[in-house]
Amino acid sequence: MKAELRVALVGNPNTGKSTLFNVLTGLNQKIGNFPGVTVDKKTGYCDLPDGRRAEIVDLPGTYSLYPKSRDESIVFSVLADRDRELTPDLIVVIVDATNLKRNLLLYTQVADLKIPVVVALNMMDLADKSGISINIDEFSRKLGVPVIPIAARKASGIDALKKAISFANKIPLQQDNIDVTAIAPGLIAGISEEIKTDNPYFALQLAHQHEHLSFLTPAQSNRIEELEKEFSFHSQKAQATETIARYNFINDLLFDTISKPETAQGESMSNRIDKVLTHRVFGFILFIGILLFMFQSIFAWSAYPMELIADAFVWVQHQLHHVLPAGPVANLLIDGVIAGLSGVMVFIPQIAILFAFISILEDTGYMARVTFMMDKIMRKVGLNGKSVVPLIGGFACAVPSIMSTRTIENWKDRMITIMVTPLVTCSARLPVYTLLIALVVPNRNVWWIFNMQGLALTAMYVLSLISAMIVAYVFKFILKGRERGYFIMELPVYRMPRWNNVLLSMYDRSKAFVLEAGKVIIAVSVILWVMASYGPGNRFEQIDKKYNQPAYKTMNPDDLRHAIATDKLENSYAGALGHAIEPAIRPLGFDWKIGIALITSFAAREVFVGTMATIYSVDGDADKLETVQQKMHSAKNPRTGQPVFTLAVAFSLMMFYAFAMQCASTVAVVYRETKDWRWPAAQFAYMTVLAYVVSLITYQLLK
């Protein structure tokens, strides 16, 4: 699809930018990456009234061109990189009419880059309601650019905006709003000469940001550095001067074009809601209540679709077994690839529901209040109020949660959040816990209403949060902060959630999860399948020979098949590895069979149940949970004749699953987010050591 016009959408957070993007493009959008960085790039197409087609690029919301987080840093590099295909022909700056002053700062910066601009004055309905009157003609005349009043949520003013986009000039017409050159005359002249630009603001921005811009050659960047020294340029001082000058311009502009009601409007709706939601008692009670409701819903609502997905895959596997000729290729496809895919897809319902909740909480403005309430506690352990969102997300899956840490501006806070998020009990641990708890914890009530199995499960969830806090506290002292931590955040007014935004977020996150986690899990599943299906030397032939003997002919064919499978697994490479690590895991109470399960669970934890099923010769996979349980219950240690799964072993095993980094997808996503192998390596190392030590202590105490 070729577009004749490229339009970039720029604006502050919470101004309705993504709503406008959705209205302009409909569902005609796709999410990709900006080249070289992992920042989501949303693009879509919009048909203009003159018959042309515009490509709309939604840039991350930002308060200024000076970036504070990774997402924000993309804005200037897209707008400034003039020789590449991303450079927009036109910028639509969306500003919130109810909060013009702060919104216009970004406009004045963008306008000074001298790319054609159209201003979309959003939330005009709310501005009218609160009695703000804007002289739009005068406003537009003073800026020198088209200003279109819209209300994106009501889709009003959109046709006028499309018209303005299609009739926009090819040359920038905006008025100068401040005297940029006066900020650093010598330096700006020097850089303009060096980089061959006639735009003083572009030159000034290069002085501030040249270290992070990929389109500059190292020689150019060094030269800018030298010029800065020569003119003793101080980045923060220059930025302060610039910001003050811009606000002076904005104050004059607003004085001439806007009239606000003088009388105080009384207490706003948002304020009244805040009094309850951030109340020192009710605030926390409500927050815990909302969390409990969320988890209850995630598990209750996802049970049925998860079963459907699992059954669908079992059906496909069954069909393929009939259709495909038996052989290693068919087995690889069916038991390796499709089984791996099933393990990924089955989590989609939980992830979609969790992100529906998170997106509702963010959309309404409640998440900002949670951040506000929790910041002090989180800061004590080295995190940040904004770490709350990824940690809550961690209860479903660490992969999308780690991706959502990008909103944390502070490097150290973000890294600690990434390091501890995988400790939170994710949904892949749930089948493991359910199986083991049912095995050793009696199913009866204590103190009338509390079920002991339920209590044990709750304890595992609480333990995971506590351990995440403790580990974060330790990292607080290990990591050296690069910059000072701060917490300056807008508390947006409460609004109703936008339902199609919620749906889009469910879709986006699920897709990201399938793509991110999917490829790793499938790859590891294939490797594990090979390890479990082939053995060293001619052991497998000998097994086949052994079971071909007449003595086995009288056996029930199903039992025979299971006996062969169990024997083969023990003699496979995976089995050999299980035996090899047995000395190391015996102090934790594990035998070689559990060792195999630990190895196969590296791809994904929930594989444990399936592996146990194979080891204990159960037909079908995870869906036969009760049968697996019975077999494990009656499993005896051949040397001592005692049951294998005692209370001590089961709890030791749960501790191991609670702390160990048995998730290849998380390793991959941590690498993707940090761009340094040392982070996932350190995470893997500390979690494995922690898992070993805690399991060891648990087993030795309970034995």
């Binding site: 308060y63 200024s64 000076y66 504070k68 109810t98 909060n99 002053k101 702060r102 700062l105 923060q236 001082k237 930025q239 302060a240 910001t243 003050i244 606000y247 948002s270 304020n271 805040d274 009094k275 951030t278 109340h279 020192r280 008692v281 605030g283 926390f284 900002a368 506000f372 309430m373 910041d375 002090k376 506690i377 800061r379 109020g385 000072r484 701060y486 917490f487 300056i488 955040m489 807008e490 508390l491 947006p492 007014v493």
Partner: protein
Amino acid sequence: MKLSQLEVGKTGVVKEFTDLEMSVKLMEMGCLPGEEIMVERIAPLGDPIAINVSGYQLSLRKREASTIILHS
């Protein structure tokens, strides 16, 4: 007087900043010299605080608020 000392519901006018790095971030968000600030509420645990500035609500930690000096 520092902004961190202002009581809930009280208003003050920004005079200057004691920290350059913080001032740049605060000014971007509309906290400029001459601007009127009202403390709207304090978080349940005593920190951060929420202020009303340039017509919207901003939250910041007390430590950051202590870098803002108000006209007495």
